[in-house]
Amino acid sequence: MSSSLLAGIDVGSTTVKAVVVGTAENRTVWRDYQRHDSRQAEVLLDFLRRMEQQAAVCPGETRMFVTGSGGNALASLIGAKFVQEVNAVSLAVERLHPEVNSVVELGGQDAKIIIFKEEMNGGPKKKICTMNDKCAGGTGAVIDKIVSKLGISAEQLRNQAYQGVRLHQVAGKCGVFAETDINSLQKQGVPSDELMASLFDAVVLQNLSVLTRGNTLRPEVLLLGGPNALIRGMREAWIRNISLLWKERQIELPAGNRPEDMIWAPADAVYYAALGAVEFGKREDAETGCYLGTENLADYVEKGRESKLRNSQPGLVESLEELLEFRRRYTNPRFRPAIFRRGDHVRSFLGLDAGSTSTKAVLLSESGEVLGKAYQLSCGDPIQDTKDLLEQLRQEIESQQAHLEILGVGTTGYAKDVLHDVLCADAAIVETVAHTQSALHYFKDPHCVVDVGGQDIKIIMLHNRQVRDFRLNTQCSAGNGYFLQATAQAFGVATEDYADLAFTAQDMPVFGYGCAVFLQSDIVNFQRSGWRREEILAGLAAVLPKNIFLYVANVPNVASLGTRFILQGGTQNNLAVVKAEVDFIRGSFGKGQQQPEIIVHPHCGEAGAIGAAIEARRLHERGRRSTFIGLEAAQQIHYQSTRNEETRCHFCTNNCMRTFLDIANPVEASSHLQACESGKRRVIIASCEKGSAQDVNSLREIRLGMESIRSRNPNVVELAARSVWKSRAPEVISDEIPSQGWKKAVNRRIALMKNRPKLRVGIPRILAMYSYAPLFSAYLESLGVLPENIVYSDFTTNEMYRSGSSRGAIDPCFPSKIAIAHFHNLIFTKHVRKRLDCIFLPMFDVLCSPLVRTRACNACPTAAITPETVEAAYTKETNIFAENNIEYLHPLVNLSDRRLFAQQMFDSWSPILGVSRQENERAIEAGYKAWQGYERDIRQQARVVLDMLERENRLGIVMLGRAYHHDPGLNHGILEEFQKLGYPVFSQNTLPLDEDLLDRLFGDEVRAGFISHALDISDVWKTATAASSNMKVWAAKFTARHPNLVAVEFSSFKCGHDAPVYSVVERIIEQSGTPYFCFKDLDENKPTASIKLRVETIDYFLRSYREEMASEIQSIHESREHAITMAIHATTSPSATTSATLNTIDSPGTTA
């Protein structure tokens, strides 16, 4: 067939692009670009009809080639041939820009990088193509999400600059993390343009560090795809970051060219995939891709879709009756504000909840009834939001000619502290506490409070009205309210209409629960498969309870949580979500079991604000006089937010950015505001206490306070993290340097031995080095390497990661991927300062362990292989080690087999140090001795602290995490936060192993035959093969048995060895009644707000636990006194039973 037209259509995840090219003149005769709003088939149909009308496209005259992520399923319907999008783009680039060596195409959900590499033998260029995996992090989707959040118009976005705009740290890895960071920055008053520029930076860095797989984008670089083509700032971000990379990697540009000449976006950048599809068509025979017309597609749009759907489940409701009955039971009656008479004096408490996505305010009467409430989607400024809401509430009351008096103010939510300071509120309470108070206020005996907010999911378990336990989502706000809201918005559905639309779905797709980014990918996949928006919305609602109970709470058996569930939080206003939750909870209860009572909080959106108001009421009832500045004064608050270089904190080396809120207080503030200064006040929003200092004097005071807290609450983990790198000054055991020999080998050895004092060895501060550094440093030092010549990389920081991780090709756990950045630090910072001869990072195969009867003592394979991935990263393009004259040593080592280890070290170091076998043996001995010395010292220090806790009957925290979690950059400073709150901190690797202590904790079980030894874990964990997991299980046992310790489990995202022991660790601790908390999925992103929320909640929980413990001990003492009195009365010599009882009571191990 000879066709006069060739059409290329790119059906992407968010847009459809098409070009029609006349074959005779090889010229584009028609083209268009439209967003499809998830209606790919419908928009394609529209395109085709317009192409037929406007460009004379018709069957018999046109050949059609379809590309794009949504094109595959649709191509055959119109007779077109499908071309994979990366191939289409590369064909277009090869024809239009043969000079280009790299292409970056950012799509809605996809990101692609193509690198054209010259072959050494001068053959055709080789293409290296990469495409994002299932995760849509670092794509246009992330930008879309934030744009919609910040309410930026298309025009604004197009002109948004990057160059010259102040940048802040934003995670680009995934939209959820980015959103969390943006939220937090927004609350600190960072303007939208800075937020967007920071986001562009994050997206570019994410792609450079993951999608390039460590390859360098060589000039020229072509920027394609919607975001690159349309947003000025994106292009500028690429130019800046790529040029920095070129500079670092010494990539030379053609003479006379600047980086901005070499990195550019063509005018029709959005059409390249479609043009590539046409190019593909030109190479195909004339029978390929013959256009069939729109009939089949129209039929598919009408009715053909159902047959293609896989992986479906029935909709949220089966029948109309079911829906009506559900609505009857679960629709909260519309709130009617209280009605007042003219002249009424309304005494009330104000509760404010400044959440992540909205701000809520309630007025609570003295008797606890809600008098009025107000809600506002956050505009990013919590103070302005609050002023608006207060005015709204006041209007409500005063419009009835009544007078409003605020007796007390409580704040909660992300911005609780800012509001507390600005309004001089009476209480600022953490959200979990606020929600618990609210549930307890309304319901007699709630068992489980399920709060689903915009950003956070909280599950609070109660027993007899006391909080028994809680769960919060970690850094990932998987599938929460805001996600649902944003998805609905993306589909053009108002949040209020979500449920109505979702209930119309007969079937819905099955989403995999968990990470919101993967849910986002699922949405795209389902759209591609033909699912409609109502079905997708229903499916998303259905997955939420799985996210709540399986992902966040990790409770597969929901029935174990109790029988009265309270659903609260703004998301519960969405009845589709409630229906899914109700079905899920009911489904967990067996037929014979008592059925659950599931109640939607009457003010679910404002439950937190109610809780805050209740706290204010409680304080008032205790006689506290409110410090609130008053409603009028609140309206007159004027403030200026400053966040720039001038506000940067220089009180420590972190140099964090701070926000200053300079508030002009109304002078005529009412008399009870004596607590507040009149005139201008400054509220400083900083990431730590030191940052809140205004001058050196206040800093000194803060420091003194902190020092005092620190010295009373030692952080053993921090001590370990510092002392592990210190030289243990081992005895030098090296051979005497032989006199000149006649053998070449001897002379070589002499030279190497003489060089030992000069040899400089770099060691990255990562992984198992946090345990075993003394072994290796002592080995080297004992052979004559000077301690000052053993150079460690810096401690992990975010800046280090950002500057040094772009060579990585994979995305493993943070402790592993940070290795590349530590090497970067060693090579490009330390080595540049003073030459390094070699870098040493062994591949830890088997570790040591004090435990007995374990099956094996393996190191984690991710950690073990990390030295190999580092080598790959630094040798793939050019050998960076060789270029810098650095020897890279990474022997495989087995630390638990001393003979084998000696052999491995000998093989590795002999060519560098000229070590003899005997010398090696002695050095190994010195190494083990030093390591054991370090272990002994740190455990001794821990024992002193533990004894202090026992004496003072206080609580300490055991961090159940690996040795590398001692790294402050990896544990995100969470342990320090606990220390500041008054809890000494230990870790699984630093717990004391003194016999008397172990006997006290485990002796009875050993004697009863449950275990063979205090260090035996076979009673709880059968498959004890991984060294650190085994240790974690043992430390959990230790913590469970010690009355003064509670457990906080740390685990990194993608930690394969931790995952299998999650439940066993939890069971061990919780069965003993010991509090257990966790920070799982730790990654490079530091979710400050989420960490703060969790730490504060844990602190609240531990305070009540300590009170309970104190009262329990008090009652035990009373019982003991009573028993003694009784015994004295009964007989002069106490019976054996009484004696045993007294002994039991005396033992601290049993009091908990």
Binding site: D133, G512, D845, A856, N858, T862, A864, K1054, S1063, V1064
Partner: protein
């Protein structure tokens, strides 16, 4: 006052599977292809066990597994345990009580002590089963005696010669039939013919493994010898064992059955002139083997997209394990030697050192040889369609500069070794590595591969992370790489046609006139540097045609 003693958490006591239960307990297992599973089932049945493979795990198994397991596991675990729970629920739906299920079924799986978390999954299975309401369901482990051996009395599952060697044969036959299926299907002239033939072959081989007469020395030896031997238990057992081994290695029924299978396979007509890129699929053990949702239905997708899939064999994995054990023994030779510092002239000490080493090394070598021999025998018996097992030492050598060959966990250096081996030897056009999301060794291996592909620029390598979601994205990425591989295959084919100085139509006509060239049993030699089936076939047929032409010219000349 007496305080009740506090009960700390302890793991539940495991219930043993005893010999006395054998007749009424069904052993459930899974995780292989249906071919392997059917053959293994036959072996177990032949040894007197009730045995049932689980259905192929689907996406719903995965979702179920996730809801009952710990978060953050790799997806083979979720698929496997979800599949088991789904099956047990089906049993329940059929009317069995939970107690009946606990009493009548056990799950048999592989275990490990290696550094990969796979070694810990036994506990994970038990926990997920408990969460799903099947607490106390028995999980038996292959590699670990405690799981199989009853805590008291005779174990329910006993590894004798028949079960052990039968399983070896079943795995080998499963491997070979699997490879044959993927080698023939893309070229079959009648669609579906390969699957029919493979189904027939697997049925035939299952029958062989199930109904094979069990060797018993007392039954096979003359009466006079049998009566004497009956009284000597030790000798009887030794001779019985040797007889069984011989039967498994050289048994006649085995050879006859293979011949029948070969004949059936020979009936499938193939068209080798179809140009298809060969895609070597490798990666994590389960992800590269499963045929379904567990790897995004990758095999069928690749075939549908016009590729020939080169699947991996379980045999290669077994050989890897044996090789690693040998390599470790070699690495420890000096360390374990009783006289590490023996001088070279001190033969006595050297001999003792060597004996210590050989004690470890020889049985492993023997195991390797037996396995390889049986594989080879079966491959030849089934028409030499399947490729031989991979040379493990060579793989380790190729991988070592990038990935330490003694590093343990998961596939170790295998992925890197295979990538280099297949590419530099031109055995495929593209390498596709399937790795479960967050698989530790496989992810690290992928990190290393980024350097490998830079050092061997001719490699088309694509890693795909498999999970429960993201199938369409994964398929799209495969299409991306496959387009390159197709170009490579076509370029190679065009080169072959050019070199042969013939037209493709001439070759096609010649093949039409020679039916033997359309038989799958016809052996086409591989030409150096040529990977594709069609390209090799063209070169071979061209040579044949030229030879025939030369012969014809010669004959004509002679006749003149």
């Amino acid at each position: 006052m007496n305080l009740p003693p506090f009960q700390h958490f302890r793991r539940p006591t495991e219930r043993p599977f005893t010999a006395e239960e054998r007749d009424r307990v069904t052993i459930l297992f899974g995780g292989f292809t249906w071919k392997h599973e059917k053959l293994i089932q036959a072996v177990f049945q032949g040894c007197g066990y009730h045995c049932q493979p689980l259905p192929n795990p689907t996406l719903s198994s995965y979702h179920l597994g996730r809801s009952f397991g710990n978060p953050g596991q790799c997806n083979p675990t979720y698929f496997t345990v979800g599949n088991l729970i789904q099956y047990l629920r089906e049993l329940e739906a059929r009317g069995l009580s939970r107690q009946q299920i606990l009493d009548s079924y056990v799950f048999f799986t592989a275990g490990s002590c290696g550094p990969c978390r796979f070694g810990m999954y036994e506990s994970e299975y038990r926990m997920a089963l408990e969460n799903a309401g099947f607490g106390g369901f028995r999980v038996l482990l292959f590699s670990q005696n405690d799981g199989i051996k009853a805590q008291s009395g005779e174990p329910g599952l006993k590894f004798g010669v028949d079960l052990g060697m039968g399983s070896m044969n079943a795995l080998n036959l499963g491997d070979i039939t699997n490879v044959i299926a993927y080698n023939l299907r893309p070229y079959e002239v009648v669609p579906g013919e390969t699957d029919l033939a493979i189904a027939w072959v697997v049925d035939e081989l299952s029958g062989l493994l199930r109904d094979r007469p069990v060797f018993e020395i007392l039954e096979r030896s003359p009466h006079w010898f049998a009566t004497r031997l009956a009284g000597h238990k030790k000798w009887k057992d030794i001779l019985n064992m040797l007889g069984k081994v011989r039967e498994h290695l050289y048994g006649k029924p085995y050879a006859e059955s293979l011949r029948r299978c070969r004949a059936r396979l020979g009936e499938v007509e193939v068209d080798r002139l179809r140009v298809k890129p060969i895609v070597k699929v490798m990666g994590e053990f389960w992800a590269q083997l499963t045929e379904g949702d567990g790897n995004f239905n990758m095999f069928s997708f690749l075939e549908q997209e016009g590729a020939q899939v080169s699947v991996d064999s379980i045999g290669n994995w077994v050989m890897y394990l044996l090789h690693q054990a040998k390599a470790n023994a070699e690495g420890r030779k000096k360390v374990d030697a009783p006289y590490p510092d023996a001088a070279w002239w001190d033969f006595k000490k050297q001999l003792k050192n060597e004996l210590r080493f050989q004690k470890k090394w020889t049985p492993l070598t023997l195991g390797e040889r037996i396995w390889a021999r049986q594989y080879q025998r079966a491959a030849e018996g089934l028409g030499k369609i399947a490729a031989p097992l991979l040379p493990q030492r060579e793989l380790a050598r190729l991988a070592h500069p990038f990935y330490h060959s003694l590093a343990r966990g998961g596939e170790g250096h295998l992925e890197v070794g295979k990538n280099v081996y297949y590419s530099v030897n031109n055995l495929c056009h593209m390498v596709l590595a399937l790795k479960p999301f967050a698989c530790m060794p496989s992810s690290q291996s992928d990190g290393v591969q980024s350097a490998v592909v830079n050092h061997f620029p001719e490699i088309i390598f694509l890693p795909i992370e498999t999970a429960g979601e993201g199938e369409i994205n994964a398929h799209s990425r495969v299409q991306m790489a496959l387009t390159e591989a197709k170009s490579k295959a076509w370029a190679e084919f065009d080169r072959s046609v050019t070199v042969s100085r013939l037209k493709a139509e001439d070759i096609r006509d010649y093949v039409a006139d020679h039916p033997e060239l359309r038989s799958p049993l016809y052996r086409v030699p591989r030409h150096p540097g040529v990977a594709g089936v069609a390209a090799n076939f063209v070169l071979h047929v061209a040579r044949k045609m030229k030879n025939a032409q030369r012969k014809f010219t010669l004959q004509t000349a002679v006749q003149r």
